[in-house]
């Protein structure tokens, strides 16, 4: 990643765009899929987890940036993990205390944010090398990218799977139950990823194909 080598901070717009589209943590990097996909059967749950990740991402990035001077490089990874674990625990407790309804459904996944590769990788690749403000915006962009992905997926699945958005009935039809099943979740994400690829094709960018790399 280009930002890893340069210490001059990119403009805020770039940071946001990167998180939202170019390096969207869900649809592009596929780095924070695990619990993320599971809770998007409704927008509400998606937003909940999205916000949790957003907050943890921003706080972790800023913490890492602030702590730069005192972090011993050799143990920075364990330190990052501890920092993330702290913020995740905090989020977990706050959500459990104040939003018990939704927490009952997404609780496990909130805890699992601690294993999100995207958060630690932003700390390592960006926050460690930049002052707090850019680190904040980088975390903001990535967190926002995740949140938007959650909303997008959640809205699509809730609409198709139960005909509603945010619990409000929008269309009345025989819902495609498939969409809210795990299989449908995979399909939905796959289709949105394909959509991102399609936009790339239209923009004239070659689709990154992990599959047929350098054989023979």
């Amino acid at each position: 990643m280009s930002t890893a080598t340069t210490r001059t901070s990119p403009p805020i717009g770039t940071l946001l765009m990167r998180g939202l589209f170019d390096e969207n943590p869900v649809f592009r990097l596929a780095l924070s899929l695990c619990p993320a996909v599971a809770v998007t059967t409704t927008v509400k749950n998606g937003v909940m987890l999205g916000v949790a990740v957003f907050v943890v991402q921003v706080l972790s990035s800023v913490s890492a940036s602030l702590l730069r001077p005192v972090i011993i490089p050799k143990i920075r990874v364990p330190l990052f993990v501890i920092i993330i674990a702290i913020w995740v625990s905090v989020m977990d407790m706050v959500l459990a205390a104040f939003y018990p309804d939704i927490y009952a459904e997404v609780g496990l996944y909130v805890k699992l944010i601690v294993a999100f590769a995207i958060i630690i990788s932003r700390m390592e690749l960006f926050a460690m090398k930049h002052p707090p403000m850019p680190a904040f915006w980088d975390g903001f962009g990535m967190g926002l990218g995740f949140l938007v992905a959650m909303i997008l997926t959640g809205a699509l699945r809730e609409l198709l799977g139960s005909g509603s958005v945010f619990g409000i009935q929008i269309v009345d039809f025989n819902p495609l139950l498939l969409v809210i099943l795990p299989a449908g979740g995979f399909f939905t994400i796959g289709l949105i990823m394909a959509l991102f690829n399609w936009v790339d094709v239209k923009r004239g960018i070659a689709v990154k194909d992990d599959y047929k790399g350098c054989h023979g």
Partner: protein
């Protein structure tokens, strides 16, 4: 996946570094614990309050109580002494101890400080004095709704094995053990099939039945007639009493529970669970009602 490469390929640290690292990690862990402890102290009361409030709200709704009504909790414990069983009921202020056939062995007042915020389970255990290899088991609870100083009804917690795993439900009855309604609390039935047990058209079929109705209730696979379905779905919009008056005929004509299409197992599980929970509750109430 993204664990930075550098972290994997570090050379072994020197002694001085080791010390530095050890101190660093200790400090960080300490700080972490302090931060988390702080947050815990801040959020825990709120969490407990909110969880309880959620439960109470549900109970009030089921019993049709006002905000002023009080909701009390009665916890039930079992203790096997060899092949002899003892049963404990812990109310808001009293603990009742019964033997296996329902004779009251002892009653005890709950100390005010325990009732206020102590660990009630621990207190019961200390009173019951289980012997070696004997465990006092908390097995369930029910709630009493008190409106204007009078018992307005009860909510029973029950569970039953559904298609995949346990279905947990609340069961609201009035003082005469007429069913006021059920609510599914937790289940893992299939979407689109078994999960219809949470839909009004299914769970409202139990509403308004007497104890005797429930005792003999059956599940039928006949399709749910449309007008009856519409009536069931309308229950949420009208007061319970009005609804019962309007639908007295319907209740009489439809003594059976119509199973969810394609999910007979889940339907039967709920019906059986309700039947059993109500029957057992009545038996227990007959034993302890006067002592709590």
């Amino acid at each position: 996946m993204s664990t930075p490469q550098a972290a994997i390929n570090t050379a072994p640290p020197s002694a001085r570094e080791m010390a530095q690292i050890a101190i660093g990690l200790t400090v960080v862990c300490l700080i972490a614990s302090i931060i988390l402890g702080g947050f815990y102290l801040w959020t825990e009361p709120a969490k407990e309050h909110n969880v309880a409030a959620r439960e109470q709200l549900l109970i009030r709704q089921l019993l049709g109580l006002s905000d002023r009504a009080e909701v009390g909790e009665v916890r039930r414990y079992l203790l096997w002494r060899g092949t002899n069983l003892e049963v404990f009921y812990l109310g808001e202020s009293r603990l009742v101890q019964l033997d296996a056939i329902g004779n009251v062995i002892a009653t005890r007042d709950v100390p005010p400080e325990t009732a206020a915020e102590g660990d009630v389970d621990a207190w019961v255990a200390s009173v019951a004095e289980p012997g070696e290899e004997q465990e006092l088991r908390y097995v369930g609870r029910f709630f009493t709704g008190i409106e204007g100083g009078e018992a307005a009804g009860f909510v029973i917690e029950g569970k039953s094995i559904g298609f995949k795993t346990w279905i947990r439900f609340f069961l609201a009855v009035d003082a005469e053990f007429n069913l006021l309604g059920i609510e599914i609390i937790e289940h893992e039935e299939d979407p689109g099939l078994g999960d219809q047990i949470t839909k009004p058209y299914f769970k409202h079929q139990f509403t308004g039945r007497s104890f005797d109705d429930i005792a003999t209730i059956e599940v039928t696979k006949d399709p749910l007639p449309n007008e009856w379905r519409a009536a069931l779905e309308a229950l949420g919009e009208t007061e319970l009493d009005d609804w019962l008056q309007q639908n007295a005929d319907n209740l009489a004509v439809h003594p059976d529970i119509h199973a969810i299409t394609g999910a007979t197992i889940s339907s039967v599980a709920v019906a059986d669970g309700v039947k059993r929970a109500l029957r057992n509750f009545r038996k227990r109430m007959d034993l302890v009602e006067d002592h709590l």
